[in-house]
């Protein structure tokens, strides 16, 4: 496994937490990780981006055009950071209707796939708008390309949940089931 993953969204959406879930799961699987997080002023609602390398080099940032995957909790942030992805990369986005139509021809040309899930709406339905990030974690894990087993991610979420463990696990399962349905279709 050698993965470069971008996680992006807005301050307050739990980007740092989501990044740590993937990093901790990768480490539990015996891999080495290098992550770069956003702290400070941007966390007050501004654009937030994390970079995660599993079994990669030790540079904290990922060069534009080389990331394998992107998880975006906001579709505008997904578009803003699309240039980080390589050809044949995959975007997992929390949105009702995917990305802006303007970028579609380029995504097709570069063979970049967009996997869409209205995670915020699902989060609201199951009880808390603040768990869209964990729903996205389940959604991404359901995709075979990452090679992260659901039971390992479940264990990480359980361990990382200082409170609301039950709700977090429900969110993870919700995202996972939605992903299984979409990706097996």
């Amino acid at each position: 496994m050698d993965i470069k993953l971008i996680i992006t969204g807005n301050g307050g959406q739990g980007i740092v937490f989501l990044t740590r879930l993937f990093a901790q799961t990768a480490v539990a699987l015996g891999h080495s990780v290098m992550v770069s997080e956003t702290h400070g002023m941007s966390q007050r609602g501004g654009s937030v981006i994390s970079y995660l390398k599993i079994n990669g080099d030790e540079a904290p940032l990922i060069q534009r055009g080389t990331a394998d995957f992107m998880i975006a909790l906001d579709s505008n942030e997904a578009v803003r950071n699309l240039g980080l992805l390589r050809r044949e990369g995959i975007v997992f986005v929390n949105a009702d209707n995917g990305l802006l139509p303007e970028v579609e021809p380029h995504l097709e040309r570069l063979n970049i796939k967009v996997m869409n899930l209205p995670a915020s709406s699902l989060a609201f339905e199951i009880g808390s708008s603040s768990i869209a990030n964990i729903i996205m974690a389940g959604f991404v894990v359901a995709h075979p390309a990452l090679g992260i087993p659901m039971e390992k991610m479940t264990a990480t979420v359980e361990k990382a949940s200082t409170r609301n463990s039950e709700l977090n696990l429900k969110a993870l399962e919700t995202g996972y089931q939605a992903g299984m349905k979409i990706f097996s279709a």
């Binding site: 990780v33 992550v35 080099d57 940032l61 060069q63 050809r87 970028v103 380029h106 040309r109």
Partner: protein, 629 residues
């Protein structure tokens, strides 16, 4: 042994604890803030007897740790780069006097800058103060360098700076925490011993200490030339070009070379000052062109003796930009240009230019940082603007409330505490130029305690007249809720022996008008603001202080109000944007077609403060909504 994910700052903290450090002090500041929290976590894990504190400012933190070192204990102090400006007085002095127990200053730089007022290079501060500096590249290396820093400090009796940067501080790396490092020899039997020619050196002795310091630096530079902290990679990648790199830029350089598909020898420098001249000279002699990649300024480059073939930050309009972060793209482009000019065959940039150009042209909404929903600073700023309008001068300060600039309620910010001194200065200058606008300054509780008290005394004593709002949210919010001297608990969450009362402190500074108000009560708050301004303007008045008191909504998890006030925006809303611009709550969202504003209930905290933000009365409490039945 299982590896764990560890934040760069925590890795430094682990290094501090596992190397027997006994006193650790700090003042919070991005990107350094998580170091002390990590120290507390790991001293508990390893059951070490370590004194920790969030000091009132960096100078205080520095001197408390220094005294511990002079006693003979290992001590460390942590801060951000601009904090070292505050602590520079003791730094320069301590370089001369030297230390006893190992003394390590951890000073985090912020290339970019991301969360700072300057992009200054603490390695250059080390050069000017004449103390050695270590420049780690990863969390793992930073942890190991703490050990080397303590060893060097004790060997040469000299303070040592460990200088991480933002990308290292906020990197998370998989590390094995437990291991051989965890043995504890207990508290060493040391005591402070008088040594007048050193600890109380007069100018005559200072000269001798300076000579001694110069000698130490020559010996240290020699030692660094043979140190494993400085090494060459890809030595067999012979060619015309060599690279010298340090810090995070070292790994960014390797990443870029990988993408470029070329091998170039890199001299990795872990000790930028004093520069290991022998090693650097012999490396430089092998190449026609040398590229120096370091952040944020030119510490290594400046010390290279023959710079004729050097490409680095000091070249005007050269290949390496003179400011800003060395991101992967910047490093790729520097190397791509320089290497192809030297005849290397390099891969093109992996980024798709067409897509990049398209995205640049898209009208994507820009989301600048904003105060949180329910933040009482917003209410205080809004009341200020309603009271004084645009016809006032608003000196601001450093903290979350610097974001008051979005609301046009912060006109200046310089450094910690400057709101009060700038207000003082504007008052005196305005008197001369006959500008009669009111001066209304804002400062947070932690910043006031850090650097505001002396300026306030100065303003009172010299008869300045302005209104000062101390925005007291009971914590240091921007950096992650560290306690201040006005809190009843300490860094490790134990009870504080005493807490300092901000109102009493303000009165003791000689301020005659002191009032406390909750900015959520807009009407009362505005009445008091007017009263404060009247005091500032009255013949026998002076500085008027209003303490705006309400806990930070992020920090205080209790309900925001005993009786929450959910709001709705009525059908009449015409999208005039007054509320989104003058009040700027993230929960008030203008529709993409700009026809009206909606409440984003997923972030709204039901504080009801925006009711006042619609002067047309279209934002109303939910209970009063008349539903057609």
């Amino acid at each position: 042994m299982i590896s764990q994910t560890v934040l760069g700052n925590e890795a430094i903290a682990i290094g501090i604890i596992e190397n027997g450090c006994r006193v650790v002090t700090a003042y919070p500041g991005t990107p350094s803030s998580e170091i002390l929290a990590g120290v507390i976590k790991h001293k508990k894990r390893l059951e070490r007897d370590v004194y920790t504190e969030w000091s009132i400012n960096e100078k205080v933190a520095f001197e408390i740790a220094l005294a511990a070192s002079w006693t003979g204990l290992r001590a460390a102090v942590a801060m951000k780069q601009v904090g070292l400006n505050v602590a520079s007085d003791p730094l320069f002095s301590a370089a001369y006097t030297g230390v006893r127990g190992g003394f390590v200053i951890i000073c985090a730089d912020d290339p970019g800058p991301h969360s700072s007022q300057t992009e200054q290079d603490s390695r250059l501060m080390a050069l000017v103060a004449k103390v050695p500096v270590f420049d780690p590249s990863t969390p793992a290396e930073a942890r190991e360098m703490v050990k080397d820093a303590f060893t060097l400090s004790e060997l040469y009796k000299i303070p040592v700076i460990l200088r991480p940067t933002t990308r290292l501080c906020h990197a998370v790396q998989s590390l094995i925490i437990d291991g051989d490092h965890s043995s504890d020899d207990g508290i060493p039997s040391v005591k402070f011993q008088r040594d007048p020619p050193r600890w109380t050196a007069t100018p005559k002795f200072r000269n001798l200490l300076h000579i001694e310091l110069n000698k130490k630096l020559i010996d240290i530079a020699d030692e660094f030339s043979d140190s494993s902290l400085n090494y060459i990679v890809e030595a067999d990648g012979a060619g015309k070009v060599g690279i010298i790199a340090s810090g995070v830029a070292f790994h960014t350089t390797q990443q870029a070379l990988h993408e470029l598909g070329v091998r170039v020898p890199i001299l990795k420098i872990g000790t930028p000052f004093p520069l290991p001249q022998k090693l650097v000279n012999s490396f430089c002699a092998q190449f026609e062109t040398l590229i120096v990649l370091e952040e944020p300024d030119a510490c290594i480059e400046m010390q290279i003796q023959d710079r004729n073939h050097v490409k680095g930050r000091l070249e005007l309009h050269g290949s390496v930009p003179g400011a800003g972060e060395l991101t992967p793209e910047v490093v790729f482009s520097i190397l791509s240009k320089t290497l192809s000019e030297a005849g290397y065959k390099v891969n093109p940039s992996p980024e798709d230019v067409e897509l990049a150009t398209l995205i640049k042209g898209l009208p994507l909404p820009v989301k600048p940082p904003r105060l949180c929903p329910g933040c009482s600073h917003r209410s205080a700023f809004f009341a200020m603007k309603r009271t004084f309008g645009s016809n006032a001068i608003y000196p601001g300060d450093i903290g979350c409330y610097t974001l008051g600039t979005n609301l046009r309620a912060v006109d200046t910010f310089v450094d910690m505490g400057a709101s009060i001194t700038m207000a003082n200065g504007f008052f005196q200058a305005n008197r001369l130029v006959k500008d009669e606008r009111p001066v209304v300054a804002t400062i947070g509780d932690s910043t006031f305690l850090h650097s505001g008290v002396a300026p306030l005394i100065n303003a009172v004593h010299t008869g300045a007249r302005f209104v000062l709002l101390i925005l007291d949210n009971h914590t240091t919010a921007m950096t992650g809720f560290q306690p201040t001297a006005a809190n009843d608990y300490l860094a490790d969450r134990t009870e504080a022996p005493r807490k300092v009362s901000i109102p009493d402190l303000v009165r003791a500074c000689g301020v005659e008008y002191v009032n406390i108000a909750d900015p959520y009560d807009q009407e009362d708050f505005i009445r008091i603001l007017k009263e404060a301004q009247a005091h500032a303007q009255s013949p026998d008045g002076g500085v008027a202080v209003l303490i705006a008191e309400r806990p930070c909504t992020l920090y205080d998890q209790s309900p925001i109000l005993e009786y929450p006030i959910p709001v709705v925006i009525t059908e009449e809303c015409d999208g005039c944007r007054y509320c989104t611009e003058a009040f700027e709550c993230p929960a008030l969202v203008l529709r993409p077609d700009k026809s009206r504003v909606d409440v984003n209930y997923s972030v709204c905290v039901d504080c009801g403060q925006c009711i006042d933000a619609c002067h047309k009365g279209f934002i109303v409490p939910k209970l009063l909504e008349i539903s057609p039945s």
